[in-house]
């Protein structure tokens, strides 16, 4: 499965467009998590807890996209876009990771 953010695949011919595939995942607000990263923010250093969470959410998003593309018998996703959105909340820490792209078959 090729994941590409480009419009076309060079030196490969796209045979069929299958349509849109999307993936989302959410990192919610959590009191325990916030306390730790709050302490880190004061003391200094990277707030690795959020780094790990975002990485995990990203992988989940891609996995669900790949699964949907496989169901459509596609072997590549092109025009992939991924965005990280802060959905706010009083503490401002609900993060939504979204990705979408076009499932295609290439030869």
């Amino acid at each position: 499965m090729i994941l590409s953010s480009t419009n076309t695949l060079d030196n490969k011919e796209i045979i069929n467009y299958h349509g849109l595939v999307t993936g989302e995942s959410l990192i919610g607000s959590n009191v325990y998590k916030d306390l730790f990263s709050g302490v880190r923010d004061v003391v200094g250093g990277r707030t690795s807890r959020y780094e790990v969470e975002i990485q995990k959410a990203r992988e989940l998003t891609f996995d669900s996209m790949k699964k949907k593309a496989e169901e459509l018998n596609a072997n590549a996703i092109i025009g992939l876009k991924i965005s990280y959105n802060n959905l706010g909340g009083t503490m401002g820490n609900t993060i939504l990771v979204t990705a979408y792209g076009t499932a295609v078959t290439y030869k």
Binding site: Y17, T22, G28, G79, M91
Partner: protein, 281 residues
């Protein structure tokens, strides 16, 4: 036995008590007035600041006049706790305990204690506490799970998954409806097919209110529900987009982009916008 407590001291403590209670009552009246006339900006009542201020001020003036020295604005502290409990916890549960509440309490505490104790209180104890609270939550979750299992074995009722019930939208159907439409969604700007005609930019948007769930025993369930809601809304936005494009005779959307936003006062509703160029291929 005869304790030689000087008379002046007894009368002083009586006077101090009197001035504290008068200050507290004055603060309560102020807070009531602020609530009654609804003097607020962005839903945040100014009484929260002014009531403790008035209480402390009146108390200090009285204490200076009667006793001759200040007694440290105890009524302001009382008023602060009262207003926080009343407005954040009783009156407005959606706002919940927030950073301001904890922050103000922390400021009061740290002003009263030396630095080493402060470090111990705010870093060591809270760190350990949050760690153990996490474990505690896990244990209670397991306990809850086994209790449910036993209950269903005894009563013979089939076990229902409350998580799945609460979700009306089926996750597995995601994208299927979208891809079965006549409109082909392409997120890239080029397509292999020949483009006959450009019809312009089309938009499909959806707005829905956000539930605040700061106080909740089950974060995961709420998160899952929110995510499902977002997925459902996104599909709906795409449907709206294809509908408006189909009206113009388009059968393909090029360069599709989907944006997630929060709009409104304090970001209290979600907006999902799907937009792209409608073309005929």
């Amino acid at each position: 036995m005869n304790f030689n407590i000087p008379k002046k001291r007894i009368s002083n403590s009586k006077n101090a008590f009197l001035s504290i209670s008068i200050g507290t009552i004055a603060g309560l009246i102020t807070y009531h007035l602020f609530l009654h006339f609804h003097i607020a900006i962005f839903g945040w009542n100014f009484g929260l600041v002014f009531a403790p201020l008035v209480a402390g001020y009146i108390e200090t003036i009285l204490a200076r006049k009667i006793i001759g020295e200040s007694i440290g604005a105890i009524s302001a502290f009382i008023l602060f706790i009262f207003t926080v409990i009343y407005s954040f916890i009783l009156k407005n549960p959606t706002l919940g305990y927030n950073v301001i509440t904890f922050g103000s309490l922390a400021v009061i505490l740290q002003a009263a204690l030396p630095t080493l104790i402060n470090h111990f209180l705010f870093v060591v104890i809270i760190g350990i506490l949050s760690y153990f609270l996490g474990i505690f939550k896990k244990i209670t979750d397991y306990f809850n799970y086994f209790l449910k299992l036993i209950y269903h074995k005894i009563t013979g009722k089939p076990q229902t998954h409350s998580l799945k019930e609460s979700i009306e939208y089926d996750e597995n159907l995601e994208n299927i409806e979208i891809n079965s439409l006549n409109t082909l969604f392409i997120s890239s700007s080029e397509v292999r097919y020949k483009i006959k005609e450009y019809k312009g930019i089309f938009e499909g948007r959806i707005l829905f209110p956000k539930d605040t769930f700061l106080i909740s025993s089950n974060f995961e369930k709420k998160e899952k529900k929110l995510l499902n809601k977002l997925k459902h809304a996104k599909e709906q936005a795409l449907l709206n987009l294809s509908e408006s494009a189909e009206k113009e005779g388009c059968n393909c959307i090029l360069n599709l982009s989907i944006e997630y936003d929060t709009v409104g006062l304090g970001g209290d509703s979600f907006q999902i916008v799907a937009k792209g160029t409608g073309v005929i291929i």
